[in-house]
């Protein structure tokens, strides 16, 4: 009896140790989430120096963001730039992961290569974007190199063409994230039972067959995890296009992302529309996280 009450006494500490997390989470995440949702139902914005609202208007803010083409254009921009970065990223990461985890290839200097490919991930995205802006400027070093080597006769204006700006954003995202993806996929590949590979080589399978028939199917859970987390990250794309285009998303707002759009509303204290936009983003990421959550949960149950 005494022992039991002691255990209960100890277990009270579980709650005590959770207090800091819960208090901070509720104050800085949960309450803001609720008030953000609340704002989306009010007419609440600033016009010059006067503040309009808050007046209850129900779903008017949602109607207004969904009926203008802006939201869909920015959603499209975000997705296009994400896909342009993600497709080469996953292909490159699969290839490198397969090479790094292949014991018969015995690659030397693996540590060096892994260190190099992971490096761009830690770079300040805003500084990296500023760097690319200066490197690819009309008078910048890339144009200067291209002209010195005779590739171009006149400088190419990277910043004033739709697809060159989008390509630069995608390239930066690719550089910043493929190292991370490679390391995750490689860890997954190392986790595959080596006897499967041995059996395959006894049966005379080629390296390509092994990759497509064994590695890829067994890697599916991690591939889905990588894809959805990358998609969630892609929806949050902000620093790189914001700095590269100075917040304008030019040319003609073709590289304006959803978060850049939200940022504009936040800066001009346009709380009603900003709230509706936040809820839209929240619902999309919520659905995506739910997929991962269900998925990793199922895997646990199977094991």
């Amino acid at each position: 009896m005494k022992k039991r009450s002691n255990v209960v006494k100890y277990n009270r500490w579980g709650y005590i140790f959770l207090i800091p997390f819960i208090v901070v989470y509720v104050v800085f995440q949960l309450v803001p989430l609720v008030t953000t949702v609340g704002n989306s139902f009010f007419e609440y914005y600033r016009s010059g120096l006067t503040q309009i609202g808050p007046n209850w208007i129900g779903l008017e803010n949602y109607k207004s963001i969904f009926s203008t083409p802006d939201l869909w254009q920015y959603f499209g921009n975000t997705m296009i730039m994400w896909i342009m970065g993600f497709v080469p990223q996953i292909l490159l990461s699969l290839l490198l992961g397969a090479w790094f985890s292949n014991p018969s290839l015995r690659l030397k200097c693996q540590r060096f290569f892994k260190t190099v490919i992971y490096l761009p991930n830690l770079i300040m995205a805003s500084a990296f974007a500023m760097l690319f802006f200066t490197l690819f400027a009309d008078t910048g070093p890339i144009n200067s190199i291209l002209m010195q080597t005779g590739v171009l006769d006149a400088p190419y204006s990277f910043m004033s063409h739709v697809w060159s700006v989008r390509t630069l954003v995608a390239l930066m995202n690719l550089l910043m994230w493929f190292g991370n993806t490679t390391i995750l996929l490689m860890a997954g590949m190392m986790g595959i039972d080596p006897s499967l590979f041995e059996a395959a080589s006894v049966d005379g399978a080629t390296a390509t067959q092994v990759f497509f028939k064994i590695t890829l199917p067994l890697l599916r859970p991690i591939l889905i995890y990588v894809m959805i987390t990358s998609l969630i990250g892609g929806l949050q794309m902000f620093d790189v296009p914001q700095i590269l285009t100075n917040g304008t998303g030019d040319p003609m707002r073709s590289s304006m992302t959803l978060i850049m759009y939200l940022n504009k509303h936040l800066f001009s204290k346009n709380y009603g529309i900003g709230g509706a936009l936040s809820v839209f983003l929240f619902v999309i990421t919520g659905i995506l996280s739910l997929i991962i959550f269900r998925f990793t949960d199922n895997r646990k149950a199977i094991k």
Binding site: T115, V116, Y118, L122, L262, S289
Partner: protein, 282 residues
């Protein structure tokens, strides 16, 4: 048969090395150009690119520090915010992980599921309410809204919880209890030291994330003296940059990027290993 296989592996190895060297080149070339250009004067820069460093690094730096951007101040602010965030984040995330790992209580399962469920919610979607809240709390234009929220970090928690599952046995805690140690003391003197390797990895990641953070600080900080490096970078971008001395622009970018690269190279062994540990959810 044996020989043929050997040749094909040899060829594949050569291809792999060539591709890896090319990829490494494309990862590093930008930073090489940055370094070269940071050492060149404005007139040298406008004459076109050369791959050889020049001698104006110090000049560019002194010009930058004397200029209008409060860059040294910005770096000190960034270091302060990032260091405090990292410290609070790992200490309290370890505490949260310990609570879920070592104790049995009614809400335990709910809390664990809850934290996992909210792990993917991006800060961007709650930032509107967050800004209104800190405005009401009179915390706008202070460092607190950038530091305190790091106490509740679901991803750090998840990583530490996984590490704890494999290193911290309940019998160790029970032994300490028999010796008469209080729960809080057990946490500080036994759990924290045991978790050091995982805590170090997460402290680095939190530091770098905070150091690089631009979105929230740009909305919270207003006065020049409190601006962090990413905000100053954005300011540099929005200024009429053609009027600038480009040597200064490059030094400024280099100044934001190279400290992280140096720290990373010193600690890369732990960082690259840590990514793989945290990412694969088993």
């Amino acid at each position: 048969m044996e020989e043929k296989k050997g040749v094909s592996i040899g060829v594949r190895r050569v291809i792999a090395y060539i591709v890896l060297i090319l990829i490494s080149f494309f990862c590093l070339i930008w930073f090489y150009i940055l370094f070269i250009n940071a050492t060149r004067s404005n007139s040298e820069l406008s004459a076109g690119f050369t791959p050889i460093p020049s001698t104006h690094l110090i000049d560019n730096w002194t010009n930058l520090v004397k200029g209008t951007l409060p860059i040294v101040n910005g770096m000190l602010n960034s270091v302060l915010i990032a260091a405090l965030s990292a410290l609070l984040c790992v200490y309290f995330s370890t505490m949260t992980a310990f609570a879920i790992h070592a104790y049995d209580f009614k809400a335990k399962k709910f809390m664990f599921t809850f934290i996992l469920a909210v792990m993917m919610i991006p800060t961007q979607v709650t930032v509107l309410g967050f800004l209104q809240l800190i405005d009401k709390m009179k915390l706008t234009d202070t460092f607190w809204p950038l530091i305190l929220p790091s106490i509740a970090a679901p991803i750090t928690f998840f990583y530490l919880k996984q590490y704890m599952d494999s290193t911290l046995s309940i019998s160790l805690i029970e032994a300490a209890r028999i010796d008469g140690a209080g729960e809080f003391r057990i946490f500080n003197t036994i759990v924290l030291p045991l978790m050091k390797p995982a805590i170090a990895v997460q402290a680095i990641f939190t530091f770098v994330t905070s150091w690089n953070n631009y979105f929230v600080p740009a909305l919270v900080i207003q006065s020049d003296k409190k601006k962090t490096l990413p905000i100053l970078i954005a300011q540099l971008r929005s200024a009429d940059w053609l009027k600038f001395d480009m040597g200064q622009v490059y030094v400024m970018i280099a100044f934001s990027i190279f400290p992280v690269i140096i720290v990373y190279l010193l600690l890369s062994k732990y960082i690259v290993g840590g990514v793989a540990l945290g990412g694969v959810k088993e």
